[in-house]
């Protein structure tokens, strides 16, 4: 799958409380969650995020609470993929489980600037920075996780295996 979008960049240790503050967790409606995504560090995010845009994070992206509302909010806001240096483990699981594409690539996360045009080939794990004319490669997922991703998430994967 090929994804095209512009980079929206944040720093290290982006926690799930800033991705979606707990005061909005009295709902699990993706649209409502998306409207408040990132608001405690970037009020403009819902307005500036265009469908297909790619979120860039630093180290330990998605640390903190296990709330699946965090990847749900990011996905519903229109983000097609999150690229970070490293992901916190619960966020990593949740993103794969709900079918939000993520890539771990320290070089890309460091080099990409806000607004850079990106072309991401998920199956190859390659990230092309169209603005800078560079290509970065992310480590491929183990086969088992690729199957979950290809099924569209853990529920679909579990269902398909009866």
């Amino acid at each position: 799958m090929i994804l095209n979008g512009n980079a929206i960049k944040y720093g290290d240790n982006i926690d799930t409380d800033v991705i979606i503050p707990a005061r909005y967790l009295n709902t699990s409606d993706p649209g409502e969650l998306a409207a408040h995504c990132m608001e405690d560090i970037d009020k403009d995010f819902p307005a500036k995020c265009k469908p297909g845009d790619v979120m860039i994070g630093g180290l330990n992206f998605g640390c903190g609470s296990s709330r699946e509302h965090a990847p749900i909010a990011i996905k519903a806001a229109g983000i097609s993929c999150v690229i970070a240096k490293t992901f916190a483990r619960i966020f990593f699981r949740n993103a794969i489980n709900i079918g939000l594409p993520i890539l771990e690539c320290a070089e890309a996360a460091a080099d990409i600037d806000e607004g850079d045009a990106l072309r991401v080939d998920l199956s190859a794990g390659s990230i092309e920075n169209v603005t800078k004319g560079k290509v970065y490669t992310a480590a491929p997922f183990p086969e088992f996780m690729q199957k979950i991703i290809a099924s569209g998430g853990l529920v679909a994967y579990t269902k398909s295996r009866g």
């Binding site: 409380d17 009295n26 180290l59 709330r67 853990l154």
Partner: protein
């Protein structure tokens, strides 16, 4: 192949003779947990899977503890969805308001977790039960849904960091100071994808409540789990609370660790983590003059009876500063009752504290103590991220119950040593 304690528990759960770090395995679950925030999402996902029943109605725990007693209409709807699901599937361990407590204090107290168990919970602080010698870890709602349907979960077998504890802590140093110090040493991603395996002769000086607090915050170092060896204290606790059979696992003597971190408990000082990361740890001697507006004593980290006893010891016969709101939240009904019978609640109320029914409430900025812009809180909770307890411009300082109680009296961050009358 030599295994860590965590690896041994996972190997048994996967019905394998041995496992190695990095291996992907499917493990049978002894307990699946959810709360009023994460369960509604899990229930929706569960209903998409073509199964009629949960895998085992005795091995699921549903605890509405975050926005309860229902803080608003939307929260009431979410709790109703959990309640309806619990009734429909005849879930044995559903805890309604009135019997409910903060999940990670409640489950051990109810004997639902014992050593050797494999537990997942749709709450990041599920790692608390590592104090009992169980493998327990936080997951999201979809993992919870699949866990409820199949009784299984996939894991990547983690490597481990060995945390060697030596010496005996001083009077006002507790489990909270140990874990804040450790997170300060290794960072908020210092144990990412790894286990924190505690060891050493210093363990003997730590109570079960200390160990619950330490294991509880393993996630704040990015760890998959934190786990303690099983000793006489663990066995006494388990036998006093549970009828479940338990299995004691020990790490192999030649188990491989990524590294060993040694902490001399006798050298630890009361520790405070400054905004906005739990790793911003400073000793009480380094805090300077930080005026505060609120104190919260409670949460899954520090709402247990020992925590309340320590706070009461300092607040006894004293008053909290006139401009400070001090909120004390016993973590379970049993702890609440015990605190009442021991006279702790009277001490708190006489000192000018508000005492609340069990709830996660303020810890995650839900209700029962939200901060305004510019306000500062000393809290015995577990996270001090931006906006965690309220306004984006508010600040949370993480500390032990002793530091929190002393700070409530002083009106600024203070050492419990200032109130030492012994």
């Amino acid at each position: 192949m030599a295994m860590t304690m965590t690896q041994k528990i996972l190997a048994r759960g996967a019905a394998l003779d041995s496992v190695t770090a990095g291996q992907l395995i499917k493990v049978k679950l002894d307990l699946v947990l959810g709360n009023d925030i994460t369960s509604p999402v899990a229930i929706k996902e569960f209903e998409k899977i073509s199964v009629t029943n949960v895998f085992d109605k005795t091995k699921i725990a549903l605890v509405p503890d975050h926005f309860t007693p229902n803080k608003d209409i939307k929260s009431a709807q979410q709790c109703k969805a959990v309640r309806d699901f619990a009734h429909k599937h005849d879930i044995e361990n559903y805890f309604e308001v009135g019997q409910m407590g903060i999940e990670h204090a409640l489950l051990p107290e109810k004997g639902l977790v014992v050593s050797g168990d494999v537990v997942i919970g749709a709450d990041s602080h599920t790692c608390t039960y590592g104090a009992l010698g169980a493998f327990s870890t936080g997951v999201g709602s979809t993992d919870m849904a699949v866990g409820m349907a199949t009784g299984e979960c996939w894991f990547k077998v983690p490597e481990a960091i060995r945390v060697e504890l030596v010496g005996k802590p001083g009077k006002w140093v507790s489990g909270k100071d140990v874990i804040l110090h450790l997170i300060g040493l290794i960072g908020v991603d210092g144990a990412l994808y790894q286990s924190l395996e505690f060891a050493g002769e210093g363990l003997a000086a730590l109570s079960m409540d200390d160990r619950f607090t330490i294991a509880n915050m393993a996630i704040e170092a990015g760890a998959k789990n934190g786990i303690f060896p099983v000793d006489d204290k663990t066995i006494s606790y388990i036998e006093a609370h549970s009828k479940k059979p338990y299995t004691v696992f020990e790490p192999d003597a030649d188990a491989q660790y990524v590294k060993t971190v040694t902490i001399d408990l006798s050298k630890l000082r009361p520790t405070v983590s400054f905004p906005h990361l739990p790793s911003n740890a400073r000793t009480i001697d380094e805090v300077g003059d930080i005026k505060i507006d609120q104190v919260v004593i409670g949460s899954c980290t520090n709402g247990r009876i020992e925590d309340l006893r320590i706070a009461a010891d300092i607040l006894n016969g004293r008053r909290v500063a006139s401009h400070i709101r001090t909120i004390v939240i016993p973590a379970t009904q049993k702890i609440y009752l015990q605190a009442m019978e021991e006279g702790l609640l009277k001490i708190f109320i006489d000192a000018g504290c508000a005492v609340s029914t069990p709830t996660c409430g303020p810890c995650l900025g839900g209700h029962m103590g939200i901060l305004a812009a510019g306000e500062r809180c000393v809290a015995t909770t577990n996270r001090n991220f931006i906006g965690r307890m309220g306004d984006v411009k508010s600040e949370v300082y993480l500390a032990s119950p002793a530091v929190a109680a002393a700070s409530a009296i002083a009106g600024k961050i203070a050492s419990p040593e200032a109130f030492d009358i012994a």
